[in-house]
Symmetry: C2
Subunit: 258 residues, 2 copies
């Protein structure tokens, strides 16, 4: 462990900086060229893969906590971030989180110091979306590794994080129809085929070729450029680009995209 001291300090003094019994967990979706992945960290104590997460600082909003955590794990600020659900079953912290005796032994500290980590914890789930090539995955002090896993081949996760991924995916797939999300995920200029491919990866199903692309055009979210992709004499698809102003407005107000 690189930073057992850092870990101990967190446990000893955490109650001064963080709210007890309340955390944020982040499902960070990564997209690149037609593939959807999820960023996971390998928890040192559970030795299982889990979602990146953390406690909420007393001075932070929930959104600021989620933004800090996604920034620290990916190296990218201002990700598209959405709260999707709070999880607070009374058994969350008994059956599903770290065993206190094991933690006490691990950090070689009296278990009385761990008091603020005990009791049922409510976690607020956020999801984020980034382009995989822009992210620099970095583990936190509780984790030994941080890596991308294909959505279609996730390991069994620790805690109740399988449920969190399921709920994040469900919410993200509803939001696909109500928020524009392709900016920063598609190249600066893209073809309509790339838009379709993007929405297929995100929604997990085959789509009618024109559904999302046509609606994005008719709502003024994307428009034609004068450039074409050079493929061959007879196949030179036009490049499209996002309209920043319409995009920002739709992101704020929501829309109906079907």
């Amino acid at each position: 462990m690189e930073s057992l001291e850092e870990f101990k300090a967190f446990i000893k003094k955490g109650h001064l900086e963080y709210r007890p019994n309340t955390s944020v967990d982040c499902v960070i979706f990564g997209y690149h060229e037609g593939e959807l992945k999820v960023l996971l960290v390998r928890n040192k104590l559970l030795t299982k893969w889990c979602l990146p997460g953390g406690y909420i600082r007393k001075v932070e909003t929930l959104e600021e906590a989620a933004s800090r955590i996604t920034m620290n794990r990916t190296g990218i600020g201002n990700l598209f971030l959405q709260q999707f659900k709070a999880f607070g079953n009374p058994d969350r912290n008994q059956s599903q989180t770290v065993d206190m005796n094991r933690l006490s032994e691990y950090v070689k500290m009296d278990s009385r110091n761990l008091g603020w980590l005990e009791g049922p914890t409510i976690t607020i789930g956020f999801y984020a979306i980034t382009d995989i090539v822009h992210a620099k995955p970095a583990p936190d002090i509780f984790s030994s590794e941080c890596a991308w896993f294909p959505m279609t081949d996730l390991p069994k996760l620790g805690f109740d994080h399988d449920e969190l991924v399921r709920e994040a995916l469900f919410s993200m797939r509803l939001h696909l129809y109500h928020f524009p999300i392709g900016k920063n995920l598609l190249p600066e200029k893209f073809t309509l085929r790339e838009v379709k491919e993007f929405y297929e990866a995100m929604s997990g199903k085959e789509l009618n070729a024109s559904n999302f692309p046509n609606k994005l055009i008719s709502l003024g979210l994307i428009s034609k450029t004068k450039e074409k992709r050079k493929i061959g004499a007879h196949r030179s698809p036009v490049y499209y680009t996002f309209n920043k102003k319409a995009y920002e407005k739709a992101l704020k107000e929501g829309l109906v995209l079907v």
Copy 2:
């Protein structure tokens, strides 16, 4: 006050039964014959109208707490209930909730007894939908009244509840496109015009006459009965009814309804 003793007992012993610093607030939408309303309670201490809400019992899930609260305020169990957002700004409980000195004076108890009610509170927002005629509004021990207000003419609410209503409305209006919700709100048998009117009240905008009705038919959620409404010789619209099985499935799995 009917029950100052009950109120005092809650404050004194609440920490044994409820989780500290975590509450549930409920935006209970009421629909009847084309009009959308919201159920509010008049807080005795703030003397302002607020959302119904309460602390979460240590043995309850968040959903169970929301279900108990909506049941107690409306007299109806098993309402359509959806979590929409958690609210946890660090200033929620300082600037926006009940003044502790005032509470202490009110209940004539030492303010040390109120400790478990202090500190920043995270609230989990749920919305519910019911038919107004089925509900029997009942205030809780913190409120003097409980009544329906038209969505288009709400008073300025206490705490940060204006924001909660805004966010609940935004979520409910997204969910309109992804969950069937008309059962128990429309009559047993209804015309397509009533379906349109219902979706217009819920979405707050004028809709194309056929949009929602046609999609509900094509997805098998509603179907024709053999009866017609008797209006006149030339205008006898057919009655439709919900298909229970398809409805329950869509409620569980979600759908795309546009």
